[in-house]
């Protein structure tokens, strides 16, 4: 299963390396990792998509918290959250296909952000599923180049109040034995 984790960290040289190094050496499977500024100056925000079971996700959270520069970590997998990804896709065009491509883009509420006679660039924003399926639609036309940001996530309004430092699962010991889910407090 995929877990969505958010971590906040001091914006210092090498912090990304500390985090990615830890994830690599502990052999965690990370599907995507995205870093950006947060609302607080000096604090960066990372969004991870972790592939594994509940125990793996729990370990990732705990190991992230041990990185001294990481100030907070939350597992938002079971929270109401807005999950988005942005993709820029350069698709080969001919006068015959251009119209159809633009129609597909429109259905997906994607924008055309660059056009010339040979190709155009579609900018798609949405869940990864949505971006995936648009890409599949465009693939037959010939995708020349593509970039995806990976998942970013923000909890919905009333969920925000729940955020507190070092909240979420103190691994409820037998949780994975009796199959119950994460304890989100």
């Amino acid at each position: 299963m995929q877990y969505t984790l958010v971590a906040w960290m001091r914006d210092k040289p090498g912090v990304l390396n500390r985090v990615s190094g830890m994830l690599r050496r502990r052999n965690f499977n990370i599907d995507s990792l995205q870093v950006s500024h947060s609302e607080t100056p000096g604090i960066s925000r990372m969004t991870f998509v972790v592939d594994g079971d509940e125990r793996v996700a729990d370990q990732v959270v705990k190991q992230l918290r041990k990185v001294v520069d990481v100030t907070a970590v939350e597992d938002i997998t079971n929270r109401l959250a807005i999950l988005r990804e942005l993709a820029l896709i350069r698709v080969r065009t001919t006068p015959e296909t251009r119209g159809e491509i633009m129609q597909f883009a429109e259905i997906y509420r994607a924008q055309i952000v660059d056009v010339n006679t040979e190709n155009l660039v579609v900018q798609a924003v949405g869940t990864e599923d949505k971006v995936d399926s648009l890409i599949e639609l465009l693939r037959p036309f010939g995708i020349e180049e593509m970039v995806r940001t990976g998942r970013v996530a923000l909890c919905r309004g009333d969920e925000r109040a729940k955020k507190k430092r070092h909240s979420t699962s103190i691994f409820k010991a037998a949780a994975s034995l009796n199959g119950s889910g994460h304890d989100d407090q």
Partner: protein
């Protein structure tokens, strides 16, 4: 002696701001952390700091121990830290000096030992240019450190030094490295040390949940066959006393990990000694047969658990642990009590019912007597075997009033020490458990002895491991340290040979090892020494070692192909033991000659 929450020593230094160089700041910070001894080796990029050291060495405020290899500076800092519970400090130059440290840092970090390492770095203007003796030390050491820093701005140096000690010491101890660019050492700036440390991401002492403590008590109170598995955390939190109270109140037998050796006196009737790969059969059987296992301050290392899915399979598991990330990492407990044992154990004790568990204890004693009957020490009396040497070493050290510290290297002798030496309290044995670093014993013994010149420190090493760091004999003499050295010389990289014998058809590839004449070697360093080949010589030589002021080295030329039993094959469950063979076809001799 234990590494508990401690305030930095109040050294009485003026804490007001002062102008000084970065080099001076390093030493001033150390003084404020109560550091009086550092282990190091100079070089270009750390020269300014060494130059400033003259003043502090001159008036005796800081003593610098010059090592012969930087790896040993880290091991000495580690030995010093394990023996005192304080932060050990090492200081070396950039590039090769720093990369030489890595093994020592990894050793300390794996065993939760507080060490601060200071490394010189090329000037900031040359960073990233592959300058002479530049290496990315922060990058190289990151995986083996609790945290590390590169200092490129003198304004940050004092706070970084203070944070480094704070992080190394607080919570689960570990290694912090501070890499200081040479120009930062030379520049001047304002030094102060009265910072409040604010590290929002660092939670060294988790708040204890009384619900967890209660749940753990409820589970234990119901147990019929309870067992405690006690690790290094007991020593680190200085809770041997509380553990003993718990054990005696509730009648619970105790198995320890290697680093938990001596958590309760090994002479105690409820002590089952070490468990795991070379734990006694009765200790491992106890783990498999118990109905409630209380793991305290340990992390379910594969050397203690054997095959995980068969480990204590019928038991409910309670895990007392400071580091939350260890809970659920290898074993998912039924109840976890996260927090400092110095807090959780005293809270636990009153909730536990007085019990005796007599049937259970009787069963264990029965198992124990079976093992005793087959013990090699009962029948191999003609030849010099390592278990005998170790047992006699115990008898000899038992006589002394001095504080005894035994430091072992890694291999068969390490396991025999743990089996045949009787440890009376935690902290008596220093050894590299997590990383299993050959070459650890001599420098770590030296570091431990530096912290207490009156202690009786025995370095017990194999002929392989001793040869990895024997250059530190010079350091022993330079510091006039009375370290006693026992080389268990079996002509082989014995532990590896044992695996080759059992798992690789006795193909002894790369394991016969030549040794120098250790008596001559010691003589070259002006260290008195003796060679022992027969059991009858053991007691006299130990007496001689103890009555000699200063260091003494004994080359115990033991029977070569002796194995450590019992043994749990890697990947096997801990009760699937390879037991000690019965007398007669004991340690079958392969005919392969060791090279000496």
């Amino acid at each position: 002696m234990a590494i508990a929450k401690r305030e930095p020593a109040n050294t009485g230094y003026d804490l007001g701001p002062q102008e000084m160089t970065g080099s001076q700041m390093i030493w001033e910070s150390l003084l404020r952390e109560g550091v009086q001894i550092v282990f190091g080796h100079p070089g270009g990029a750390i020269l300014p700091a060494y130059d400033a050291l003259a003043e502090y060495e001159g008036d005796g405020r800081i003593h610098h121990v010059l090592v012969r290899h930087e790896q040993c500076a880290a091991h000495m800092a580690d030995g010093f830290a394990r023996a005192t519970g304080e932060v050990g400090v090492c200081i070396v130059t950039s590039g090769p000096g720093a990369t030489n440290l890595v093994t020592g840092l990894a050793t300390a970090q794996m065993d939760s030992v507080p060490v601060v390492a200071i490394t010189g770095q090329v000037p900031t203007s040359l960073l990233g240019t592959d300058a002479f003796q530049e290496s990315d030390v922060v990058g190289v050491t990151q995986p083996v450190c609790k945290h590390n820093y590169l200092v490129t701005d003198i304004a940050e140096l004092p706070l970084i030094m203070k944070e480094a000690f704070y992080i190394a010491r607080e919570g689960r101890p570990g290694v912090v490295l501070v890499d200081v660019c040479k120009d930062v050492q030379i520049e001047s700036g304002t030094f102060r040390y009265d910072f409040d440390i604010s590290l929002p991401g660092f939670e060294p002492w988790p708040v204890v949940s009384s619900d967890e403590v209660q749940a753990a008590a409820d589970l234990l109170n119901e147990a019929e066959r309870p067992l405690i598995l006690a690790g290094h955390g007991i020593h680190l939190s200085n809770t041997s006393e509380e553990l003993l109270q718990l054990v005696e109140k509730a009648g619970i037998p105790v198995v320890t990990t290697l680093l938990g050796t001596g958590n309760i006196p090994e002479t105690h009737p409820l002590s089952l000694g070490m468990g795991g790969m070379h734990g006694e059969a009765f200790a491992n059987r106890a783990v498999q047969a118990c109905d409630v296992l209380v793991a305290m301050g340990m992390r379910f290392d594969d050397r203690i658990t054997g095959r995980l899915d068969r480990f204590a399979a019928d038991a409910k598991i309670i895990h007392f642990e400071l580091d939350r990330a260890e809970v659920g990492k290898n074993i998912v407990p039924d109840v976890a009590v996260v927090g400092d044992l110095a807090e959780t154990l005293p809270a636990y004790l009153p909730l536990i019912k007085e019990r005796r568990h007599q049937d259970w204890v009787d069963t264990l004693n029965e198992w124990r007597s079976e093992t005793d009957e087959a013990d090699i020490i009962q029948y191999e009396v003609e030849e010099l075997i390592p278990p005998y040497v170790i047992r006699q070493l115990w008898h000899a050290t038992e006589q002394t009033d001095k504080r005894v510290i035994v430091v072992t290297d890694v291999g068969q002798h390490q396991m025999w020490e743990s089996q045949y030496y009787i440890h009376e309290h935690a902290g008596m044995l220093l050894t590299s458990g997590g990383l299993g670093t050959m070459g650890y014993a001599l420098p770590a013994a030296l570091g431990a002895q530096m912290s207490d010149r009156e202690a009786l420190v025995w370095c017990v090493a194999g002929d392989g491991g001793f040869q990895m760091t024997l250059q530190e004999l010079a350091t022993i003499q330079q510091e006039r340290l009375p370290v006693k050295i026992a080389i268990i010389n079996n002509g082989f990289l014995g532990m590896v040979r044992q695996w080759q014998q059992i798992f690789y058809d006795k193909r002894y590839v790369g394991t016969p090892i030549l040794s120098p004449d250790y008596v001559k070697l010691a003589d070259a360093y002006d260290i008195p020494a003796a060679v022992v080949r027969h059991p009858s010589e053991v007691v006299p030589v130990l007496e001689r070692a103890h009555s000699t002021d200063g260091p003494f080295l004994v080359d115990f030329q033991v029977k070569e192909e002796v194995n450590v039993y019992p043994m749990v094959a890697p990947g096997a469950a801990v009760d699937e033991l390879i037991r000690r063979p019965k007398p007669g076809y004991v340690q079958g001799y392969s005919g392969v000659q060791p090279s000496w």
